[in-house]
Symmetry: C2
Subunit: 337 residues, 2 copies
Amino acid sequence: MAEFVNVAVDAMGGDNAPLEIVKGAVDAVNESSHVKVYLTGKEDAIRSELSKYTYHKEQVEIVNAAEVIETAEPPVMAIRKKKDSSIVKALNLVKEGTCDAYVSAGSTGATLVGGQVIVGRIKGVERPPLAPLIPTEKGCALLIDCGANVDARPSHLVQFAKMGSVYMESVMGVKNPRVGIVNIGAEEEKGNALVKETFPLLKNCPDIHFIGSIEARDIPAGYADVVVCEAFVGNVILKMYEGVGATLIKKVKEGMLTSLRSKIGALLVKPALKNTLKAFDLEQYGGAPMLGLKGLVVKTHGSSNSVEIKNSILQCITFTEQNINQKIKEKITMEEN
Amino acid sequence: MAEFVNVAVDAMGGDNAPLEIVKGAVDAVNESSHVKVYLTGKEDAIRSELSKYTYHKEQVEIVNAAEVIETAEPPVMAIRKKKDSSIVKALNLVKEGTCDAYVSAGSTGATLVGGQVIVGRIKGVERPPLAPLIPTEKGCALLIDCGANVDARPSHLVQFAKMGSVYMESVMGVKNPRVGIVNIGAEEEKGNALVKETFPLLKNCPDIHFIGSIEARDIPAGYADVVVCEAFVGNVILKMYEGVGATLIKKVKEGMLTSLRSKIGALLVKPALKNTLKAFDLEQYGGAPMLGLKGLVVKTHGSSNSVEIKNSILQCITFTEQNINQKIKEKITMEEN
């Protein structure tokens, strides 16, 4: 028997749990014989969903968890109190070494807190960032950090740049990824205190390909592969993608329905348009990895369907097979010399 | 003779100067008999442009200035050294009381620095923010601050909320404008140190309509009329509008050209689409006011054409006639009681 990449999946997390989560897990094991999924959550509910499908039984295991952490719950308290929740049980599987990775569409806060508290940081990593892939004209870029760790220090941002470079090179196959720091102008002397302090540190970093400042306007155009910023700014960037995208698409649709002529045109362009815009959909890339932890922790959208769950699980195979955490450890330690 | 609103216009600023600037000025005085424009810059060049048009001579005056401040010049130095530049001369017209307002498509940095140094702040105003109007599904919102003053303090943000409310109510006619603070979640306990400190201050502000946190995703949807944030975040929001917008429109166009069927459709939807998207164009609103100064300072896009210049000049009439600065003074002073 080949050795599996073992992935703990929170079967109760997200808007469509457990139905879409279980379906995504089954699809993943049916697509790859390299992966084994541990579904944590209410055993009866999971078993009843699983009974709908055929799959290799040895690739799926149920780990019963009676509790569920709701999105609205304060995360620190939830992680501490709900020991028998699907999130805590799944994270514990990673902590104890049964699993290599964790995937959840549930509470972002609980995943971020639990990732740090239960799985734990790689030695030397100051802060584990949440780093979603965002679409660009040229493909995609890693936006690092979008997590809950606001008010970052320059040394954090330098580590984000290093970890992001490892991820883009080893998981996404981008050779010598271009690292940019989000700024309000292209010149080195521009920026707030954090960016001004970080800029020379990145410039003097020998093991990344730093291209300087990147203005927010140039992010969707794909000027950088690794987009470094502190979490508050990262969150604003991610949500402007969603917000401007949603509003513009709505306007385009409205515009197409204003006259009979344009309505006919709309029918003709619809299929082609749908395909092109799909390539610019934030959700196509599966989950966002939380980097710098002793195992891989992946947070997918709360609205995830089975396709996103499947992709997030399969993403864990590359991450584990490429020894990303070993590479991160080496790159972070290099900094300390 | 009716009393004019006097507007100093930097005839040499922007990519299309002096041609489009002079045309915009002429169009403005031809549209309103309430305004008089002072064009600052190279007299010969301005006179030669003016000779193309007919207009009421008493509504246009030329103020010669031999120098031009380039966009790339360090602004503090430029303002100090180039006393005979079109920007410094125009700002001086406001300072000495000849003009009520200033409009420039030239160097943003020089305008921001010059606004503070030459025109000066209203007593009590800690920082004059740059506040562009941004399109939303429901109309537009004021994004305050997008200026060069990064690393703001909570008291600055409270003043931005007050000044922005005055502007939206008196210039844009929005009754009891909704004020939101940009945050990474809707809950009061979320945010970085700045937002957490500012939130209760805004909540206890009796003279604004504070609706709490606004996530970046909800800005284009129009959840708030006054969007309060510090300048770094404001700059990122503004530029994400531009960047995501440009990339999406490009994708839509590409999508429409992928097949013969969609090409025909594209021809049919084009006129309707163009109209709808125009309503979501960042440049339609004319210039961004710099609030809290002893006169009105308006910065328009570097790429401004005559329409944007005209709109920016006409905007100064409402601003002046509505006594915005008096209202800002009252609202800011109220805070000190």
